[in-house]
Symmetry: C2
Subunit: 112 residues, 2 copies
């Protein structure tokens, strides 16, 4: 009983991650800052959001990772798989849909 659908706008963090990783291999800590700058400081997602999403995307086969040692520190770099690219596409379309819906509701003129 009562298994809930995800909230209507919850795909966005995942979408941003996938989009950035589709362009370039990146590691978690880097993604935190990339999202902030790529959105013009409009959206700031902390590590508490990023890491769990990365892990769940890897678990379900959308991402694969490799560890790389850089100056004594270990970074975990992520890249998209074919499944991840599909997922990106789906989320992108879904985003355009709700973004367009909201825009329509906000813009349409003042009559009933």
């Amino acid at each position: 009983m009562a298994q809930s659908n995800p909230p209507f706008m919850s795909g966005v963090p995942e979408l941003l991650l996938l989009r950035l990783l589709d362009r370039k291999e990146m590691y978690g800590y880097e993604l935190v800052r990339s999202i902030r700058s790529a959105t013009g400081e409009a959206i700031s997602l902390g590590e508490g959001v990023i890491y769990p999403v990365l892990h769940s995307l890897e678990r379900n086969g959308s991402l694969k990772s490799r560890r790389k040692a850089v100056a004594g520190r270990t970074r975990v770099y992520y890249t998209l798989t074919a499944k991840g690219r599909q997922r990106l596409n789906k989320l992108h379309i879904e985003w355009l849909r709700i973004q367009g819906g909201i825009t329509a509701a906000l813009e349409s003129p003042a009559y009933a």
Copy 2:
């Protein structure tokens, strides 16, 4: 310790409500269907979302209501106050900001 900011896209239901009520006096049950149709079926917010938001907006002085009996049923019609119009404006700007941020992140070309 740990008092959380609201999630980064949580203003949307409130924004849609305020926008529709800015055009026309409406009651809750009507708003449920209006949001669905005004967004081209992209967004569907149930009564469990709408009513609590209406009540909280009235409590904080953004909306005022009047009861009206229509064909034996009681409807509660809501309209914006000056404060509600301010709130609408603020949320609208905030929405454009995050919407623009996301669009930028999705569209910007494939170099770092």
